[in-house]
């Protein structure tokens, strides 16, 4: 897999991505400011170091995909700062933003919906190059074939259409399209959850190989905690628009400090029947509250098994350092 792509690894010493106090609110109906506001991302701060994989987990509706899209500037942030390779993205417009986008790419969950069925896959993969006016036709063709080889697709298949490929192969096409420019950051939004079990492993292994080879940085968004543990150096847990805990992945799983993280972990069944028989899931009461009107104080207090009142219902716990490289937003960390 060597010769092919010259992806320039980020030479940065500091973080590749710095997200500071980012909000993303969606107005709903009403108009003229009368409607309610969905607080999909509600004050989030974290960093991604160059070359690492940061896993972002949470349940549906917690805002993890929105956060990924906001970092990519596919949707503007309502407030806050997003720095990529040291440059502020939220203030960038037009051509400047376009240039930066060559260095950040996204892979989507559904490989059926994210590829244009009327385009041959060679054109799909070449499109980003064309879009940025890179190379002539011949050079682009060569590059496309290189990238296809890198992701494990037969480079002679450039004339075929997406429907001729299986889900796993389509996901490879999506990865090829992301790699054809020279990204340093790849946001992978549930890249394997639509795939069959035996194919998931192929894609996970491919993403790991590409990272080693090209020093890529991943923001890996997923709901499956076992996959996230497997691929991530660090893990951030999200609940209702907020990050509640971040630590290196071993630490999150061995020593979760936030009760929500602990609940999530206790919910995953083990494959090993002996361990599984011993597992005691902590079952949550009630439903996830609406992000239109999140609970006051700690957002998790309405469902938290260890919430204490009045503090948890009134004071929002800040995301602060509880141990080395381990931050959590909880008044009673590690008590569950």
């Amino acid at each position: 897999m060597k010769q092919q792509l010259e992806i320039v690894p980020s030479q940065r010493v500091g973080p590749l991505v710095s997200v500071t106090d980012v909000y993303k609110h969606f107005p709903t109906g009403g108009g003229f400011g009368r409607g309610a506001v969905v607080k999909a991302v509600d004050g989030v701060t974290f960093e991604i170091a160059a070359g690492e994989t940061l896993g972002l987990v949470g349940e549906s509706g917690c805002g993890k995909s929105t956060l990924g899209r906001v970092i990519m500037q596919l949707q503007p942030a309502t407030a806050g700062s997003i720095k990529f390779e040291g440059r502020e993205l939220t203030k960038m417009r037009g051509n400047e933003l376009r240039q930066v986008r060559q260095r950040m790419q996204i892979i989507f969950q559904d490989p059926y919906a994210s590829l244009n069925p009327r385009m041959a896959i060679g054109d799909i993969v070449a499109e980003p190059l064309k879009n940025f006016g890179l190379g002539n036709k011949r050079e682009r063709e060569k590059r496309v074939q290189q990238v296809m080889k890198v992701v494990g697709l037969n480079p002679n298949f450039t004339n075929r259409y997406p429907h001729e490929f299986s889900g796993g192969q389509r996901q490879r096409i999506g990865i090829a399209r992301a790699l054809v420019l020279t990204p340093s950051l790849i946001v992978a939004d549930e890249p394997i959850s639509a795939l069959d079990v035996s194919i998931q492993a192929q894609i996970v292994n491919l993403l790991e190989d590409l990272q080693t080879e090209y020093k890529l940085t991943y923001l890996f968004i997923a709901h499956d905690l076992s996959v996230v543990r497997h691929v991530s150096d660090r893990v951030a847990v999200m609940y209702l628009g907020k990050i509640v805990e971040v630590a290196n992945s071993r630490e999150v799983y061995d020593n979760p400090l936030h009760p929500y993280t602990k609940v999530l972990l206790s919910s995953i069944p083990y494959t090993d029947p002996v361990l599984e028989a011993r597992r005691k899931p902590i079952l949550l009461k009630g439903e996830i509250p609406s992000p239109i009107n999140p609970p006051k104080g700690c957002r998790f207090h309405t469902r938290c098994p260890i919430a204490q009142f009045p503090i948890c219902g009134e004071v929002e716990p800040p995301l602060e350092k509880k141990a080395d490289g381990h931050v959590a937003a909880c008044h009673f960390p590690g008590k569950l």
Partner: protein, 303 residues
């Protein structure tokens, strides 16, 4: 399957696990049909049952719940009414009894404030509550078997945990036998005492879950268990990926259908299909090689 037993059917999409379940209900969609074999339920053959008997059998003796509860619930009818209707379609409970059973059933599946909730429409329920309502509907006629086809696949992990606990409880307390169909080996491990692994329309291995997962004999079972990351993994190990794709069922490979993807195949696998034979007490596998005969060194070769 014995009364009160929990059986897991695991396999990838297209392996035939859902068709197996639909066959048990004699519900194979056209143009498919059950082309051979027998399905005995309490010694009566489902394949040759009259349509009148089938109506009573489906939903009466055997109930089924699906992955997406929204597509199985009628969006314009109140949830309570739909559960009542499930009983009215059968003759076990009269009108009065059926009406009276709705609230206790919702309570049984732990839907909060069941009295009010019975008057709600499906869209007012969350995904987890809809699945609970489906389970309540399934249990309405006190079936002896509940078939759950990927019941938690569309749900979040915390909700999945709740539904699995509920199914365990129902099995324990009501003695309802459960067939759980899933692509997720951990979900099977959580609920089922026995497991059946399917590949390309056939059972390739079956036995007590603990035994099969501890000592898988079929290479497909073996690789499937190693292709999923484990939440309890102590150090980073590269996942085993099964090369290639599941076969086209219209053009099955010769010999063992898994041979094109099998890293332990021998010459015989290409020519002759292995029979399902007993490989240990209670455990059956369909393989000429068997993992016990594969040396540790060749198992360690990662693909």
């Amino acid at each position: 399957m014995n009364p009160g037993e929990t059986l897991g059917i695991v396999g990838e999409s297209g392996s035939g696990k859902s068709m197996t379940a639909l066959s048990i209900l004699n519900l194979v969609p056209e143009p498919g049909r059950i082309s051979g074999g027998k399905i005995l339920f309490k010694n009566r053959d489902v394949v040759t049952m009259t349509s009148g008997d089938l109506l009573e059998y489906r939903g009466g003796d055997v109930a089924m719940i699906f992955q997406d509860p929204m597509t199985s619930l009628n969006p314009v009818l109140r949830v309570g009414f739909q559960i009542e209707e499930a009983m009215r379609a059968h003759s076990r409970f009269d009108k009065r009894q059926a009406k009276a059973r709705v609230i206790p059933l919702l309570e049984r599946v732990r839907i909060p404030s069941p009295k009010q909730r019975a008057r709600d429409f499906p869209f007012q329920f969350s995904g987890g509550m809809r699945q609970r309502a489906m389970i309540a509907m399934g249990l309405a006629n006190e079936p002896s078997l509940l078939i759950a086809d990927e019941p938690t696949t569309a749900l979040d992990v915390t909700v999945q945990a709740q539904i699995l606990e509920l199914l365990k409880e129902l099995n324990r307390e009501l003695g309802t036998a459960i067939i759980l169909i899933s692509h997720n080996v951990a979900v099977i491990s959580s609920l089922c005492t026995r497991v059946m692994v399917m590949y390309a329309g056939r059972v390739v291995e079956s036995g007590p879950t603990r035994q099969v997962f501890d000592h898988p004999e079929h290479p497909y079972t073996w690789s499937l268990l190693r292709s999923v990351p484990r939440v309890d993994e102590r150090r980073h190990e590269r996942l085993i990926s099964i090369q290639g794709m599941p076969p086209d069922l219209a053009r099955l490979p010769t010999g063992c259908t898994f041979h094109p993807r099998c890293q332990f195949k021998v010459e015989r696998c290409l020519r002759e299909e292995p029979p399902l034979v007993e490989v240990a007490a209670d455990q059956e596998a369909r393989c000429w090689v068997l993992m016990r005969n594969v040396s540790k060194e060749s198992q360690a070769v990662r693909t």
